[in-house]
């Protein structure tokens, strides 16, 4: 399927997050998730915000840091096979616009969730834990690091 590719981009996974409108779609999807949670009657607003941040952070950890390779056959001869999606973005260049956006978003969500939960202790602990789960693996120092050989191959 990839001989018909006219362009030479080796791994489209590296650049599609820079396309027009992706960041906006990301934020829209987040709001859609939040509204779905808000519309369930037994969930109060603080719980809804905590649930939104938790679900977002856990899903983003899974998608960005656990899943490796790309969902199509790349023309880079398997170079991206061992890299997670986060490491493939922009071919490994750090501190690009997309990376900064994705790093800031969990932090902003944490602020919003802390505000709406009125700084309650339980909510704070949960939000902080998931925020760290989402933000810490994105540090450049953890590029290519697999702790305790988990997820190495």
């Amino acid at each position: 399927m990839n001989v018909g590719i006219a362009q030479g981009e080796r791994n489209p996974n590296s650049s599609w997050l820079n396309s027009r409108g992706v960041w906006l779609t990301y934020i829209i999807l987040l709001f859609v998730l939040h509204f779905i949670l808000l519309s369930i009657p037994y969930i109060t607003t603080p719980v809804a915000w905590t649930l939104t941040t938790t679900i977002h952070n856990i899903c983003s950890f899974y998608l960005f840091h656990l899943v490796k390779g790309a969902p199509w056959e790349t023309s880079d001869q398997g170079r991206a096979r061992r890299f997670t999606f986060w490491e493939q973005i922009d071919n490994g260049v750090q501190w690009t616009g997309t990376r900064k956006f994705l790093q800031i978003l969990p932090i902003i969500l944490f602020f919003i969730a802390s505000f709406y939960t009125k700084y309650d202790r339980t909510h704070f602990v949960i939000n902080l834990a998931t925020m760290l789960l989402a933000v810490v693996p994105k540090f450049p120092i953890f590029f290519g690091v697999r702790l305790f050989d988990i997820n190495r191959y």
């Binding site: 399927m1 006219a6 362009q7 489209p12 396309s19 409108g21 899943v67």
Partner: protein, 544 residues
């Protein structure tokens, strides 16, 4: 005088068409700035050739509307969700696995493939696989026969009913209409087969060079107004194996972003360093040229042995044309070499069909290495390199395609020779004019209807953007239902957002065929809302 007055006319229509509030490309900016008549006269007097170039280079790449982008991402997100669901069902044996399964994985061997690698193929491509790779049952001319195939299990397997569908062919590269099974070229090719046999089965340097190869190369050199040329059996291999013959370690290759994979393979094989510059962006290219000359190699700072700029004449996915006058100016200023791949433009562009140089009116000796293929415009197969005799002699000795590949077979060569000779006669000129006429008519109608069409208004490759995967599929199937076969391309052949349908106009298309196609596109475009353009008012075909 004639040229400037015709360019004045087309300039006037340009002003008419693009409202000044929605400008994006530089060409349009300069055209509407000088919109009043006095200014137009002044501009015309100052630099007429520049304005001619402006009109030849009139390209449009309208930006993706935001709502279309968001809906496209949402479509892919929903497809992903369903993909995960189906994968889960398949892995937990609730649903049968229909794809190929590695038999050794169950026996405890390390799996050969990662199942995530085929996620896209399983869950998105296979679901709509019937719109791609359709087998055909006749020569791919302007109208052809498609074999009808029906799938009972959602495109995992097909069964052939035995019937064929007659359809208008808007997908094959057949720019001058030479893909026909009867006619002077076909008769000549059959006679050549009877005279010379199928193939000499030998390489060009041993016993493979026959008189028809020499004749073809001479004819081609005369046609292109160059000193010498050499032909190969495969167009892809021409690029991939000849760039290593002219470039090597220590050289720098600057290639356009949208170059074909054969050029990129050639660049990688050659061992030279390569950088890409933004598509058709001459400022970016100049900046990179200057940086390369000033800084040299990245680590050692030694000067580059030579710098080669690789561009294509007409880009097949975008429909844009390279900016040849500016490239020649840059090349001469910085003493770089230019390699131009005219796969889609030789035969199709220019007054005499000689390609982009004919289109811009530039001397063929300005481009150092001219490459082209015979597949698209000459109804044959193979590729060629043309240029100075010293270059071609070097390639004859040093190119892998010449020394290790078997020579072109006789009927293939005869088809090219016959079509080249036909192009010199009035009948050939008629074909070239018909192609240009068809191209401009089709493009103008599409743009007037409000669809987003990329590329230069004179390029016979017409990409129309559809963006969403479901709309791409629906468009393709609806067109086939109306008897028109089109080629739709999506991710990963194009960028994630820019799924499109690519029409290839041919000289063999009659006005009625194009009108049928336009009516069908108009209907389907209204049904599934494909009129994304904000620059052009969307109108129905009956209002035009």
């Amino acid at each position: 005088m004639l040229a400037s007055s015709s360019s004045k006319l087309s300039h006037a229509t340009l002003v008419h068409r693009y409202p000044p509030s929605k400008l994006h490309s530089e060409e349009e900016m300069s055209d509407t700035v000088f919109s009043s008549d006095e200014n137009e006269m002044n501009y015309k007097r100052e630099n007429v050739t520049h304005k001619d170039d402006e009109n030849l280079q009139c390209e449009e790449f309208e930006e993706t509307p935001l709502y279309a982008a968001i809906l496209t991402y949402l479509s892919y997100a929903i497809l992903c969700l369903f993909g995960w669901l189906r994968d889960f069902l398949r892995n937990s044996n609730i649903e049968k696995k229909r794809g190929a399964v590695d038999p050794n994985a169950a026996l405890g061997f390390v799996p050969l493939y990662q199942s995530y690698e085929s996620f896209y193929t399983r869950n998105m491509y296979t679901r709509v696989r019937d719109i791609f790779n359709r087998p055909i049952a006749s020569v791919p001319g302007a109208q052809f026969e498609l074999t009808e195939r029906i799938s009972d299990d959602y495109n995992w397997t097909y069964r052939y009913t035995g019937k064929t569908i007659n359809a208008i062919n808007l997908g094959s590269y057949n720019y001058l209409g030479f893909a026909e099974k009867s006619g002077p070229c076909a008769t000549d090719a059959i006679n050549a087969l009877k005279t010379y046999g199928v193939s000499s089965c030998n390489t060009r340097i041993e016993l493979g060079t026959q008189r028809y190869h020499v004749e073809l190369e001479q004819l081609l050199a005369n046609f292109l107004h160059v000193e010498s040329s050499i032909a190969f059996g495969m167009g892809f291999a021409t690029n991939a194996l000849n760039i290593p013959a002219v470039a090597s370690k220590g050289d720098l290759i600057l290639s356009d972003e949208m170059n074909h994979i054969s050029l990129i393979l050639g660049m990688r094989l050659s061992g030279a360093s390569y950088q890409t510059f933004a598509h058709n962006d001459m400022k970016d290219l100049e900046a990179k040229l200057r940086a390369a000359i000033v800084h040299g190699h990245p680590r050692t700072q030694r000067p580059w042995k030579k710098i080669i700029i690789v561009v294509e004449g007409v880009y097949s996915m975008e429909g844009s044309i390279c900016r040849l006058p500016e490239l020649i100016a840059l090349k001469k200023k910085y003493k770089a070499y230019l390699y131009m791949d005219e796969a889609h433009s030789v035969g199709a562009m220019g007054k005499n069909g000689r390609g982009i140089m004919d289109y811009f009116g530039i001397d063929a000796n300005d481009v150092d290495i001219l490459m082209g293929t015979f597949t698209k415009s000459f109804g044959s197969a193979g590729g060629y390199i043309a240029g100075k005799k010293s270059l071609i002699d070097h390639i004859r000795v040093n190119s892998h395609a010449n020394t290790y590949a078997s020579s072109m077979s006789a009927p293939v060569v005869q088809q090219i020779i016959s079509s080249l000779q036909l192009l010199k006669r009035p009948e050939g000129q008629k074909r070239i004019c018909q192609l240009a006429d068809n191209t401009r008519y089709f493009r103008q109608k599409l743009v007037d209807m409000g669809f987003i069409v990329y590329g230069n208004k004179n390029s016979p490759v017409v990409p129309m953007l559809i963006y969403m995967p479901a709309r791409v599929t629906r468009f393709n199937r609806e067109m086939l239902r109306r008897g028109i076969a089109v080629v739709t391309v999506g991710f990963p052949a194009t960028k994630l957002l820019d799924a499109r349908v690519r029409f290839c106009i041919s000289a063999a298309h009659t006005r009625q065929m194009l009108d049928t196609a336009l009516m069908a596109i108009d209907e389907i475009g209204t049904d599934i809302s494909l009129r994304y353009s904000t620059r052009h008012q969307s109108r129905r075909l009956r209002e035009l």
